[in-house]
Symmetry: C2
Subunit: 247 residues, 2 copies
């Protein structure tokens, strides 16, 4: 039995999120399992991801693993899987991992990017890769407010309830960068792990502070209150992209 | 009567090209005319573009004009048109032009970009914005060969026949740049005008030289022969984007 680590890029627009669901067709996990089942002529090959992503959320570096008895070389395997996948999912690398490797449990950290388009008119070419936010943003305020997220905190105010996930809400944000590229603002967040909708809640709240809806200093108060109702609205899925998983 | 100049971005994947056609729904020109007709409550408002683009070809800076008796300020007009357009087309600016302005006849030059993805596996997120070309490319050879296109030439070998267009095949290429950005190669071509499929035939031929299908020096020979059959294959539409029209 060998363990394979996959690095995956996908276009969130095409799928109902990562996880196989009873009533949803076209999930990324489902497509990957179907491609592997076909390749290995098995009834089901279980693929475990580093974590779920919601409908509309993209990935440039999602990681998953599966275990299989096979002699196929990894480069041949990569070609074979890509051949069986729809064009909205691409395997970027296949590596053989040690037997104990687990895409979710072995993960040491993740980074996400969130892209905002901040001008008066939307984009035709990038409309499914960014959140169109036409209101005026104070970028300096957004950056100074963002500093409050850095470090180890209880992120209960920034987590949506998901009963299938752990109740533990303490996380460490290692990096939070806000870069301006023309009319786009790209927020990059790196942490040891993320709660459900945490990045979208952080970015939505920062945009509400930066556009005057909340006063500066609000993030500190929200973190202290540990109550989802105290923080801002979630930013929509189309701006979000899972960039990297660290092991 | 006022003349309005529109700068337009569109996602070529969503439309059957620029030009209104008898049997094709969803053309960019058709959608623009419909949006303007709705706004001005007219049966038809004619929109003239700087030139056609084929199905699948994108634009970041297409230009068009229309004439209308109206007192509406340009910024209000821009919002109103964008409101009536599908999300794959966005008006980036509306300017009032002098009475004689004609988007096609007044054009002094155009630039296009062509994006190639050169690696062994495709992209999920950029698959509709680039041409996936997995064969090995000699970039130095591609650049040196490209120099033969610069200047004033008869481009008959690089033009597909289109009976609705002029027979004059002499054009001046002012700039041809080939830039590498990670696994992407971006070709930018600027000329006083382009023949039908000229950019795609140029890029397709350069890729055939750079990947060893034609020997170096082929472009010079092809230009001399003035015969479409002597040049290489057209690169596909998804990599092509009309960047700018000069007046």
């Amino acid at each position: 039995m060998r363990t394979f680590k996959l690095t995956i890029e996908y276009d969130g627009v095409d799928f109902h999120g990562w996880q196989v669901q009873l009533n949803a067709q076209n999930t990324v996990q489902g497509e990957l399992e179907a491609a592997l089942s076909k390749n290995f002529k098995k009834k089901r090959v279980v693929v475990i991801g580093s974590g779920r992503t919601d409908k509309g959320v993209h990935a440039r570096g999602q990681v998953a693993h599966f275990r299989m008895k096979t002699t196929m070389p990894t480069d041949e395997l990569m070609r074979a899987i890509n051949h069986n996948l729809p064009s909205g999912i691409v395997i970027k690398s296949v590596e053989e991992a040690e037997a104990g490797f687990h895409a979710q449990r072995s993960a040491r950290g993740k980074s996400y990017s969130y892209t905002i388009l901040n001008r008066s008119y939307p984009s035709a070419l990038d409309r499914q890769r960014c959140y169109f936010f036409p209101r005026k943003i104070n970028l300096g305020l957004m950056r100074s407010e963002a500093r409050a997220f850095l470090g180890r905190h209880d992120f209960a105010s920034f987590a949506n309830v998901d009963h299938s996930r752990t109740c533990e809400t303490i996380r460490t944000v290692r990096r939070l960068e806000i870069k301006k590229r023309g009319d786009f603002i790209v927020v990059t967040i790196e942490a040891d792990g993320f709660l459900y909708k945490m990045v979208r809640n952080i970015v939505g709240t920062l945009l509400q502070v930066a556009s005057g809806r909340f006063p500066s200093g609000s993030v500190k108060r929200m973190l202290k209150e540990k109550d989802r109702r105290s923080a801002g609205l979630a930013a929509p899925p189309e701006g979000l992209c899972l960039e990297r998983v660290e092991y």
